[in-house]
Symmetry: C3
């Protein structure tokens, strides 16, 4: 059975903490041990795990990715003006497989789960499958 998370983003580029949404779905599914497969259904946003303690880390990631993949690179041919967002999506990746133990995600102390929006603001959908 696949569940779907809905994530509303508010800027063109930002990292949105989706940990609470994933944990809520986990509790509803009642999974105690296993894995959670997350899959973004879009080509201009990604999923990643990084620090969620100091919000400057997420901001630095967004800023550094903008320098790494400049939006106005004259080499792009795709006419929608969002080739940078497609590139960032493949660099971070559209899916994550997280471990579950004792009914909770197995994450390090500082790890948070983020949707990386690269071409928002939009409403994004993430497919979730639990496996024991």
């Amino acid at each position: 059975m696949i569940r779907y998370l809905e994530v509303r983003t508010s800027r063109r580029e930002e990292l949105v903490d989706v940990g609470p949404l994933v944990r809520k779905a986990l509790q509803e599914a009642g999974l105690r041990e296993g894995v959670v497969h997350l899959w973004s259904l879009h080509t201009t946003c990604a999923l990643t795990v990084n620090e969620n303690a100091d919000p400057d880390v997420a901001r630095d990631l967004v800023g550094a990715m903008a320098r790494l993949a400049p939006r106005d690179d004259p080499g792009y041919r795709h006419r929608e003006g969002n080739s940078d967002a497609h590139l960032k999506t493949s660099l971070f990746g559209p899916g994550l497989t997280l471990l579950v133990e004792n009914g909770d995600l197995v994450l390090g102390t500082w790890q948070g789960v983020f949707l990386a929006e690269w071409d928002g603001p939009r409403v994004r959908r993430v497919a979730v499958r639990f496996s024991s």
Copy 2:
């Protein structure tokens, strides 16, 4: 049981749509619900999911990666002249876990599954495992 997909690439760098091959293997396996684990057996090509509607998106990805990881970077020590291809492989990643529902891949409207060739042309092999 592991199946193997064979992908023949035709240029040094290109994105090849392997969605039809993956769907064919899925139908042969008869999997209705679960996940598909894909794994490239090489260190100079990767797997990714991105837009397969406008072919310029894939071309832009290849071009942008060439600017991000220049082939002739004087800092490389590996003598085969393909350190850029190794780098791109770790950046996109060699594996994907895709969701399956009703006998088909769970993908967004614009998402296609690609083998990203970074040091072709070659014949590439992708290992596939289905899990219900």
Copy 3:
């Protein structure tokens, strides 16, 4: 059941071959067919698979990533001085799902499994879950 690998790194940035540790855990678990989910519990190191034959490949990856994500980029706001390490972690990714057949990892001839240390030296922990 989740097992934990401990990896001691010796430099700020390096790729450490963790294949032997993963294979040892695989043998202890007695898994013959299935998948191994690996998850780094940190936000400044990643997991990747790349060539482990010529050590210059791993060195080139470390060097190229340093040029891609410079440590002293004046755009960073996070004050710990390791925003580059956070960025590299999301670029390579914190998790891997490897295939298992006949009691061994399904890898290509040249593929090795690496922990990519971006802010060491430290002792790192990798969570491992086997699934048949």
